[in-house]
C-alpha cells in the first residue's frame, strides 16, 4: 500500500473511532451536545479523507468533479460543527460569528450543487499525474470557481472565530488548554490553505484538507477528553467530600448526643454513689441490715453494667466508617433506633412508635450510616412537634414492602410540617427552617441514601405533619 493511502486511511479510521467513542459517551451520559457536534465533525473528517483518497485515484475528470462535490458536503458538516462546537464547549466566543459562518457555508453548499461540477472548480478540463511519496496520483486541472472566494472567506472567519474564543476562554479561566485547542484548530485550517498553493503549482496531489481536519478532530477530542478526566476527578472528589460531610455531621450530632449520653450516664453513676453512701451510713448503725446491704451491692453491680453499655454505645457511634453494605433485618434495625433515640425522645416528652411487619425482606445497607439518617429524620420530627401538647408528641416509624424489590421505611409525625417555601430545596445543603441549625442533616441523609442507591423523599401529610420516606433495596431470598 502506498504512503498516502496508509496516511489517509489511518486518519479516517482514527476519526471514526473517536466519533464512535464520543457518540457512545453522549448516548450514555447526555452531558452536552458538544459531543454530538464532535462526532459529526469526526465523521466528516473521515469522509473527507476517504473522498480525497478516492479523488487522487480518479480516472476521469467527471469522476473527480463528483468526488470533490461530495467532499464539499463533508467539509460543510465539519465547518458548521466546529463553528458551533466552539461557543458551546469553550463557553466563549461569539455565537453570531458561528451563525455567519454557517450561513456563508450553506451558500457555498447550495452553489456546490447548483453549479456543477462543484464549488471549487467551475470547470475541470483535465487530469494530471503527480508523483508523491513514490506513487502516481491524479490532480485536477481546471478553472477555479468564483465561490472559492466565499470558501476562503469562511475559512478565514472560522480562524478568527476560533481565535477569539480560545483567547477569551483563556482569559476567563486561565487554562492553557484553551490555547492548545485554538492552536491545533488554527494549524488544521492553515495547513490545507498553504498546501493549496503547492497544489496549484502541481507539487502535491491534493491540499490534504483531511489531514488538516484530522488536526481539528484531535483538537476537539483533546478538549472533550480533558472534560472527561475532570468529570471523573470531580466525581471522586464529590464522593470523598460526601464521606467527609457525613463524618462532620456525625461530629456535629455528637454534641447533641453527648448531652443526652451525659445525662443518661449520670443516672447509673449517681445511683451507685447514693447506694454506696447509704451502705456507708448503714454500717455506722448498731445492727446494719445485711439483707439490705446485699441488695445495695447487687444494685451497684447492675448500675455499673448499665453505665458500661452506655459507654459502649457512644464509642460505636464515634467510629468513622466507610460504607459497609450488608443485609440488615428491618425489625432489628427499628429496635436499635428505638434504643438509640429513646433517651433523646424521652427528654423531650416524645415517643417512638414502630409499625414494622415481621415478614419484611432484609435490606442492603450500612447499619451505622442508616441509623444516622433515621436519627436525623427523627430529630427533625421532634423539632416539628415542639409546641404540641405532651400527649400528642408521637413519631411513627413504619416499614413496608414496595415493588419491585424494595423496602420503604418512613418517619411520620403530626407536627408543624415542612414550610412550603423550603420544599423545592428540601434536600440541599443549608436549606433550613431552624433558627440555629444549619440544616445539613437532610443533605447528608440524602447523600447517604444515594450511596445506598436508594431514594429519600419528604412530603407534608394531608392531615398535618410530615412524612419522610427512605426506599432501600431488598435482599432477595429468605425473609424473616
Amino acid at each position: 500500500m502506498s504512503g498516502v493511502t496508509i496516511l489517509l486511511s489511518m486518519a479516517a479510521a482514527t476519526s471514526l473511532t473517536l466519533a464512535g467513542v464520543h457518540l457512545l459517551t453522549w448516548f450514555r451520559l447526555r452531558r452536552s451536545s458538544a459531543e454530538v457536534l464532535f462526532a459529526l465533525a469526526a465523521i466528516s473528517a473521515a469522509a473527507t479523507a476517504m473522498l480525497e483518497l478516492a479523488a487522487m485515484h480518479a480516472s476521469t475528470p467527471a469522476e473527480l468533479g463528483t468526488l470533490i462535490q461530495r467532499e464539499h458536503v463533508a467539509v460543510y458538516v465539519l465547518v458548521v460543527a466546529l463553528a458551533w462546537f466552539v461557543p458551546l464547549h469553550l463557553r466563549a466566543g461569539l455565537p453570531w460569528l458561528a451563525g455567519l459562518i454557517t450561513a456563508l457555508r450553506t451558500l457555498v453548499l447550495v452553489a456546490n450543487f447548483a453549479s456543477p461540477p462543484n464549488a471549487t472548480f467551475s470547470e475541470i478540463t483535465g487530469l494530471q499525474t503527480v508523483t508523491f511519496l513514490g506513487e502516481q496520483l491524479t490532480t485536477p486541472v481546471g478553472s477555479p470557481s468564483a465561490w472559492r472566494v466565499v470558501s476562503q472567506a469562511t475559512a478565514a472567519l472560522l480562524l478568527i472565530h476560533v481565535g477569539i474564543a480560545s483567547v477569551s476562554a483563556w482569559r476567563k479561566r486561565r487554562e492553557r488548554r484553551s490555547l492548545v485547542f485554538g492552536g491545533l484548530v488554527a494549524a488544521g485550517i492553515l495547513l490545507p490553505s498553504s498546501l493549496a498553493e503547492l497544489l496549484a503549482r502541481g507539487s502535491v496531489p491534493s491540499a490534504f484538507i483531511s489531514l488538516g481536519f484530522s488536526l481539528i478532530v484531535v483538537a476537539m477530542a483533546y478538549e472533550l477528553s480533558l472534560d472527561l478526566v475532570r468529570g471523573s476527578t470531580l466525581d471522586r472528589e464529590l464522593h470523598e467530600s460526601k464521606e467527609r460531610l457525613i463524618h462532620a455531621q456525625r461530629v456535629a450530632s455528637i454534641e447533641s448526643f453527648s448531652a443526652a449520653f451525659a445525662h443518661e450516664i449520670t443516672q447509673p453513676l449517681g445511683a451507685i454513689l447514693r447506694n454506696a453512701e447509704a451502705a456507708t451510713m448503714m454500717l455506722e448503725q448498731n445492727q446494719p441490715d445485711l439483707e439490705e446491704l446485699r441488695a445495695i451491692f447487687s444494685d451497684i453491680r447492675r448500675d455499673d453494667d448499665r453505665a458500661t453499655q452506655i459507654l459502649a454505645r457512644m464509642r460505636e457511634f464515634l467510629k468513622r466508617q466507610a460504607l459497609k453494605l450488608e443485609p440488615i433485618d428491618v425489625n432489628d434495625f427499628a429496635r436499635s433506633l428505638e434504643e438509640l433515640l429513646g433517651v433523646l425522645l424521652r427528654r423531650h416528652g416524645a415517643r417512638l412508635r414502630l409499625d414494622v411487619p415481621s415478614d419484611l425482606p432484609r435490606v442492603i445497607g450500612d447499619q451505622f450510616h442508616l441509623q444516622q439518617v433515621f436519627v436525623n429524620l427523627a430529630m427533625n420530627s421532634l423539632e416539628a412537634l415542639e409546641g404540641r401538647p405532651n400527649g400528642e408528641r408521637e413519631i411513627l416509624l413504619r416499614a413496608a414492602r414496595r415493588e419491585p424489590a424494595m423496602v420503604e421505611v418512613s418517619v411520620m409525625d403530626r407536627g408543624r410540617g415542612i414550610p412550603v417555601e423550603l420544599m423545592p430545596r428540601l434536600f440541599e445543603s443549608f436549606a433550613t427552617s431552624k433558627k440555629d441549625g444549619i440544616g445539613m442533616g437532610l443533605a447528608i441523609s440524602r447523600a447517604i441514601v444515594q450511596l445506598h442507591a436508594g431514594e429519600i423523599t419528604g412530603r407534608n401529610n394531608a392531615d398535618g405533619g410530615a412524612t419522610f420516606s427512605v426506599t432501600l433495596k431488598a435482599v432477595e431470598g429468605r425473609a424473616r
Binding site: 449520670t266 453512701e277 447509704a278 445495695i296 444494685d299 448500675d303 424521652r346
Partner: protein, 221 residues
C-alpha cells in the same frame, strides 16, 4: 416541728435506679421518704395537708421538673422543691431558682449537699406553713368586721383624721371614734401601726419600699 405532724420527703425521678438510691440514703439518714416514678403520679397523690418537701429530677418525660414546680406553686400545698439534675445547666438552674426552688443539685454530688438542702427545705416548709395559717386567720378576722367598720378601717389606714372620715361617711365624729375602738378591739391591735401591719399580713394592703402605705385595689368599699 409545730404540731408534731411528720414531715415527708417526696422524691420524684423517672430513673428507677436513681430513685432507689436516693430513697435509701434518705431513709438511712432518718427522713420519712415517699418515692414516685413520675410527676403526674406524685401530683395525683399529693394531699393538701402533707408536710415536707419535694426532691425532683429536672428532666423527666411527660411533666418535667419545671412543670412540676409550677403546678406545686399554684396548688393549695406549695411545698418547697429541691431540684436534681444530670448536668449543670446554668439556664435551667437560674429559672428554677427564680421560680422559688430551694436548691439545684447535681445528681452525682455527694449526698451531704442533698441532705443539707432537704433540711433547709423542710425548715422553710414549716415557716411558710405557719405564715399561711396566720394569714388565713387574719383574713378571717377582717372578714368578721361589719361593713361600716371596714369603711372606717380603710380610711384610717389612708391617713384621714377622724373628722374627715366623719364627713366622708356622713356620720358623727363620735361614731367614728366608736367604730375605731371596736374594730381595733376585734382585731386585737393597740395602735394604728399594728393595724397597718395586720392589714399587710392579711393582704388588704401592701407596703412598698419607702414604707408608703397603699390600700389594695378593691379594698376600699
Amino acid at each position: 416541728m409545730m404540731n408534731g405532724a411528720a414531715q415527708t420527703v417526696f422524691v420524684v425521678d423517672d430513673d428507677p435506679s436513681y430513685l432507689d438510691g436516693v430513697t435509701r440514703v434518705l431513709r438511712t439518714a432518718g427522713f420519712g421518704v415517699a418515692g414516685f416514678r413520675s410527676a403526674e403520679e406524685f401530683v395525683s397523690e399529693l394531699e393538701p395537708e402533707a408536710r415536707g418537701c419535694v426532691v425532683a429530677d429536672l428532666c423527666m418525660p411527660g411533666m418535667d421538673g419545671m412543670d412540676l414546680q409550677e403546678t406545686i406553686n399554684r396548688s393549695q400545698n406549695p411545698l418547697p422543691v429541691v431540684f436534681l439534675t444530670g448536668q449543670g445547666d446554668v439556664h435551667a438552674s437560674v429559672r428554677a431558682m427564680r421560680n422559688g426552688a430551694e436548691d439545684f443539685i447535681l445528681k452525682t454530688a455527694p449526698s451531704t449537699e442533698l441532705l443539707a438542702a432537704i433540711q433547709r427545705a423542710l425548715a422553710r416548709d414549716e415557716r411558710e406553713r405557719t405564715k399561711r395559717l396566720h394569714q388565713q386567720s387574719v383574713v378571717a378576722a377582717f372578714a368578721a368586721l361589719s361593713p361600716r367598720q371596714m369603711q372606717v378601717l380603710t380610711r384610717v389606714l389612708a391617713g384621714l383624721l377622724n373628722k374627715q372620715i366623719a364627713a366622708e361617711l356622713d356620720i358623727t365624729d363620735r361614731s367614728v371614734k366608736r367604730h375605731r375602738h371596736s374594730l381595733m378591739m376585734k382585731l386585737g391591735v393597740g395602735s394604728v401601726a399594728e393595724l397597718a401591719r395586720l392589714a399587710v399580713e392579711g393582704g388588704l394592703a401592701s407596703a412598698d419600699v419607702e414604707g408608703e402605705f397603699s390600700a389594695s385595689p378593691g379594698a376600699l368599699p
